[in-house]
């Protein structure tokens, strides 16, 4: 597995990549993690395809925009980076917010190239839900004692589950802290995106692949009913961050679905 940067007119996009042959597979991480979410599954995916996980602009080591962007603007930035890897058919896969990005690209900017889509937690939000989210998300305040660091740690442990290995809690917390001022910006893109409309437009095979205990499992169940050519695969006993915590299963399902073994 190797890391690199693509230089675009919007700044640098950071990525992880694995694999020397096979179709291109672009992976989009959830908020507020980074492409490192796919670091465990990439080497396995790389056995059968050229897998590239991109840091969303503003996250990980990708340059941020100067303000929150809408879905189309994020998609444009992703496209500039994706173009650098060459033409030809490609597979798109996303986790949570990343699913929204994959969906947008598959139905708009990359519609002619995408052969398969894998979505893990595609958020279908009502206006009320969006309003509710807007009220609670925002950048934390730095304090002189560093107490907010403990709060971030504790919040993550609660959300991810207290049995989660501490190293993994550290990874997730550090990724979010690195971009704390703007960690919620990608949510704005999701809020502005008409996901239902996009799902109905999808005209390639789509796999909804998600853990049974993932917070967005019901959203995926509903989303699958809106797509013409959809497969729904709910993994029993699996929670959130599927590519990170179940890298082999994730890779196997994606490769199987894409006809790569």
């Amino acid at each position: 597995m190797r890391k690199g940067y693509i230089d675009t007119e919007f700044g640098q996009v950071h990525y992880y990549a694995a694999g020397e042959s096979g179709p291109l597979l672009f992976l989009f991480h959830e908020t507020a993690l980074a492409a490192s979410e796919f670091s465990r599954t990439l080497p396995i995916l790389g056995e059968k395809c050229r897998a590239v996980a991109l840091d969303t602009p503003g996250y990980g080591m990708s340059d941020p925009p100067s303000a929150p962007l809408d879905m189309q603007a994020f998609a444009t930035r992703f496209c500039r980076a994706i173009e650098a890897f060459g033409d030809g058919p490609c597979i798109l896969a996303g986790a949570h917010t990343g699913s929204s990005f994959a969906l947008e690209l598959a139905t708009q900017q990359l519609a002619e190239r995408v052969t398969h889509v894998v979505l893990s937690g595609l958020a279908l939000l009502t206006a009320n839900e969006i309003e509710g989210f807007r009220k609670i998300i925002g950048a934390p305040e730095l304090d002189h004692e560093g107490r907010f660091l403990i709060e971030e740690w504790e919040k993550r442990r609660q959300r991810w589950g207290e049995a989660t290995p501490l190293d993994d809690i550290l990874w997730g917390t550090a990724e979010q802290l690195m971009v704390y001022q703007r960690f919620h910006w990608a949510f704005e893109a999701v809020f502005s995106h008409d996901a239902e409309l996009a799902l109905k437009k999808l005209n390639c095979p789509t796999l909804f692949l998600i853990g049974e205990d993932d917070s967005l499992v019901d959203s995926d169940r509903r989303a699958a009913t809106l797509v013409t050519d959809a497969e729904l695969k709910v993994l029993p006993g699996v929670g959130g961050r599927l590519p990170y915590f179940e890298p082999e299963r994730y890779a196997r399902e994606v490769l199987r679905f894409a006809g790569l073994g």
Partner: protein, 292 residues
């Protein structure tokens, strides 16, 4: 476009001295392939190559402002992340200072740089020294900004007590430890403390490896072997200020630069001062590609 380095220290274009710090001259980031793995680095400018090594447990981000200042003065300024820190790969075993020095040579090979001006501080003053001793033809001149010169007993004491491997606690108390460790002076801006703290957390289980290499390194024995023009830099509040006279005495023909207390300056002021000095120092050592 704002720089990802702007944790608050740089959120708007600003001027200082000769140059305007804008998005156009923020450091570019890249990876170099070395036999031991990928080395992540930041680079700004074209011209005389100067390599700036960061202190443990930070990353090349420590020098983001200085890179830009040096670029404006006609340098090609490069700040690598030491292996095990920042976004560089992690070595598969505990490295010695000699290993870091070898990797620095491999980095220069990857960047096709035959010789550079070299700046290191604290942990990387050891790496820079070792590289200059073993590859003198590749170092035009050397700047050591705080040198970890300790006798065997001192080093053994440090090995048992300072920069021990990271211990994660369920209650998150290691997060507070990381914060307090990053709070080097009461006047440090919160954003700066935070940025250093995040770097420390990012290094995680390898944050201590640079220090461990220093405890095993007899810098006092290596300094007299330096044959490249060298300047020893210090400030009144440098934790390694005590070793300054030792360095001056040990290095043949050593020059000296004593700066004001770091705590009394902002990041940008410190960088401007360092850039001014390094420009003057390198020019005196034959750097002729610098702008006037």
């Amino acid at each position: 476009m704002t720089s990802p380095e702007s944790f608050g220290a740089l959120t708007a274009p600003m001027t200082l001295g000769k140059e305007k710090i804008t998005a156009a001259n923020t450091p570019r980031r890249a990876y170099a392939d070395t036999p031991d793995g990928q080395v992540h680095y930041r680079v700004a400018g074209t011209g005389e190559p100067i390599v700036l090594m960061h202190w443990a447990p930070s990353s090349g981000r420590q020098h983001s402002v200085l890179l830009v200042q040096l670029a404006a003065r006609g340098f090609c300024a490069i700040a690598p992340d030491l292996m095990g820190y920042g976004d560089s790969d992690k070595p598969d075993r505990q490295w010695s200072i000699g290993d870091y020095s070898r990797n620095l040579g491999d980095l220069l090979d990857a960047l096709e740089l035959s010789a550079v001006y070299l700046y290191g501080g604290h942990t990387t003053a050891a790496v820079a020294t070792e590289f200059a001793v073993t590859s003198p033809s590749r170092v035009q001149a050397l700047a050591l900004d705080g040198s970890p010169v300790y006798d065997a007993a001192q080093r053994a004491a440090f090995a048992g007590s300072y920069a021990l491997p990271l211990q994660l606690e369920t209650d998150g108390s290691h997060m507070l430890w990381a914060w307090q460790r990053s709070l080097r002076s009461p006047t440090m801006p919160l954003e700066e403390v935070f940025a250093d703290c995040v770097d420390l957390l990012k290094a995680g289980h390898t944050y201590h490896t640079g220090y461990e290499a220093v405890w095993a390194y007899d810098m006092a024995a290596r300094l007299p072997l330096l044959t490249v023009p060298t300047v020893a830099m210090t400030t009144p509040d440098d934790p390694l200020a005590d070793a300054h006279q030792q360095v001056m005495a040990a290095v043949p023909g050593c020059q000296e630069f004593i700066g004001p207390a770091r705590a009394s300056q902002t990041v940008v002021e410190r960088a401007a001062l360092a850039a001014d000095f390094l420009e003057e120092f390198c020019r005196s050592q034959g750097a002729d590609k610098l702008t006037l």
